[in-house]
Amino acid sequence: MNLTVNEGEFLVLLGPSGCGKSTLALTANGIVPNQIGGKIAGTVEIDGMNTRQHAVGELARKVGIVFQNPDAQIIHLHVEDEVAFPMQNLLVQPQVMREKINEMLEVVGMSRFKKSLTTTLSGGQKQRLSIATALTMDPKLLILDEPTVHLDPKGAEEVIDTIVQLNREQNIAILLIEHKLDEIIQVADRIAVMDEGVVVADGDPRELLLNKANYIMNDLGLFIPQVTEVANFAVTRGYTFASAPLSVEDFPTNTIKLRRDGFAGGQNHQGNVAGRRAVIEIRGVSFKYPIGTKALDNISLDVQEGEIAALLGSNGSGKTTLAKILIGLLKPTQGNVTIRGDNSVYDVSKTSPKVLSRFIGFSFQNPENQFVTERVFDEVAFGLRIMNNISEDEIKRRTMGIIEKFGLVEFIDEHPLNLSMGQKRRLSIATMLVLEPRMIIFDEPMTGQDKKRTDFIIKLIQDLQGKGTTSIFITHDMHFVANIATHAIVLNEGKVAFQGSPEKLFNSPEILSQNSLTDPVVHKLAMKFDGQFSSIITVKEFCDVMEAEQ
């Protein structure tokens, strides 16, 4: 592959999962092949230095790198020590080091955390700390490998703002690896697209998205900005643009026609529907951890049969605690939760997780934590086998059925831990679905997934809904919420801050800002046409309205 990053340039690198983006990042600072080995052909030069002829320590002065996982790249327990680390390694004198620590923490807006413990920082703060650490070596190029993937929208915004500021004010070249372009497309100078280890498209964002949007989205299965999706659809319907819009600000309101009195709303966004029975009833639930932290405070809500509910809120708002109560891992300190099983109603405080697992499945954020056998087949069959009352033939039939549905047949004898991350995610969901639960909880199912995999999970949840299965998912991804949720629940400091339709949530700017949430870009675009209220929260709805107006 061939790729050049120019001085002071902001380059965004896209590509399907497993296409080689992260390997490329490690190649740029010499870790590949100097530290972790491998065979490399061709040359990689950083500011005139051939990476194979220089040690990683020398290259570190030219290239800073920030990885995806905020926790796994922080080595020290104290913020100050973490920032000092590269300078300590490069034999910088203590006085210079002290000044540089203050300067770099100031640049990323973290000065007040100088004496803090790194374990007490939020995800966004940890990523900004890693950026400050990389900056102490005065790199010419800063590589960021999906730095916002584990962050809530507010944390992601903090990180993106910091990167843009560095590029604009300090002229540091940026190579940003990302799955989603909506928040960064306006600031990118160039986009490069990778597939199977080669650069398949490279150029000006506007031109690239105008000419290759379908290839990027449909052939490679990647996300393109929602504004671009709308503009490209408009072009197919005969509308013309002076230049391809990339952002809401770019999009001219006089180009297309859109009804200004609001749209009747998609069928998905109706919120709780009267008349359906509740499968989960939560009444006055509070929860306090043994160390004294009150995670939930007098929560009451219902989840109805067949609903797809999004559980939202900033980090630490109580989402995971509530989910753990629903599956019986935690018992409420006050109040009660009832789950409607096949023919009975179960009080979760008095029911073991093993019994609850027959009715309610849970997909963890890290799928590998859930694996308990050494073969993909056994992993899927495990839940059926512990039920004791199912014949081996029936177990085999149901297990194979679900393995085929999830495209895992060729891995049937593999160890689950040997699968790719996408395959592990599919396997973890398959292990639950084979039990045909009435409810499923997904914890951040979309983390780090490209469009193709996101679409797979969306279709899966919708298929389940068709069979009457109730889904609850915890997420920070508002596009996903808009596309699939029928009901949104927002928690803030352990209390219910909002419950209703996603449409109502996205039209409540105060609720969004108080809870570190944001509305989808396409909703912002629709609001540009109709400043008070818009029911349009997905690209499809926007396009449908546009088409109806013609």
Partner: protein, 272 residues
Amino acid sequence: MSVLQYIDGNSFFHRMDPTIKFIWTFVISFLAFAVMNPFFLAILFVVQMLIIRILAGLPFRSLGKRAWIAFGPALMFFVFYTFLYPEGKGVLLDLGIVKITVEGMMYGAAIGLRFPVSVLMAIVFVLTTDSRKFVYSLIQVLKIPPKYAYVLMVALRTFPLAEEEFHNIIDAQTIRGMDAHAKGIKKRIERIRLIIIPLMARIFKGNLEQMAMAMDSRAFEAYDRMTFIEECKPSKWDITFLALWVVIFVVVIAAGIGSFGAFMNTYTPWKD
């Protein structure tokens, strides 16, 4: 909160260079295991109580449940030898099979007191030592190569992450229907194995591998030495304190109160 966690402070022990303090805990442990005289060990124990309160500035309650790490085995050994010492002549109570003797109680007290004397000082070391300063001191004062000293730093950082992963795995497997309280050795071993394998995978693949890459990309080992924001250098008081205890140790050995043989000879009764 972890059982053993640094407590911030400004006492003599808090200010002491961690390497000197570390060596001192070894000196005092050697001293405790070299001596079999319960009266000497009792005096040593009282001196240590004064050290905890005055030199380390720690209220006794700060030891809390941690004290059981020291006093639990002490009590156990004292009771064990009081009842089961075979050669005692000064019988205090004769219960037929079991005789409680003066020699047995003295022997039990000597063996038992070794634990609080050595373990309490190790606890005080942990409670008064900032782990980062310890790592920096190992590199600067003890001249340990950074790549070895940083193993400790990474371990300190990884421990809370591993603890979190451990709980996540237990939770995930519990809701898959795994029995949290497996009965029988075979089932228990299987249960542990099913936790250890993903835990190791998460720690090594997920955390340690990436931490190693992060360290490399921050120029770790670019040179065979490092500079530091804070210079670690033992003060003259630190050196005097350590020297004093080394002298006490030498005098105890020279005067015959203790001997190197006592390390091994755990069954020699206290008597001449």
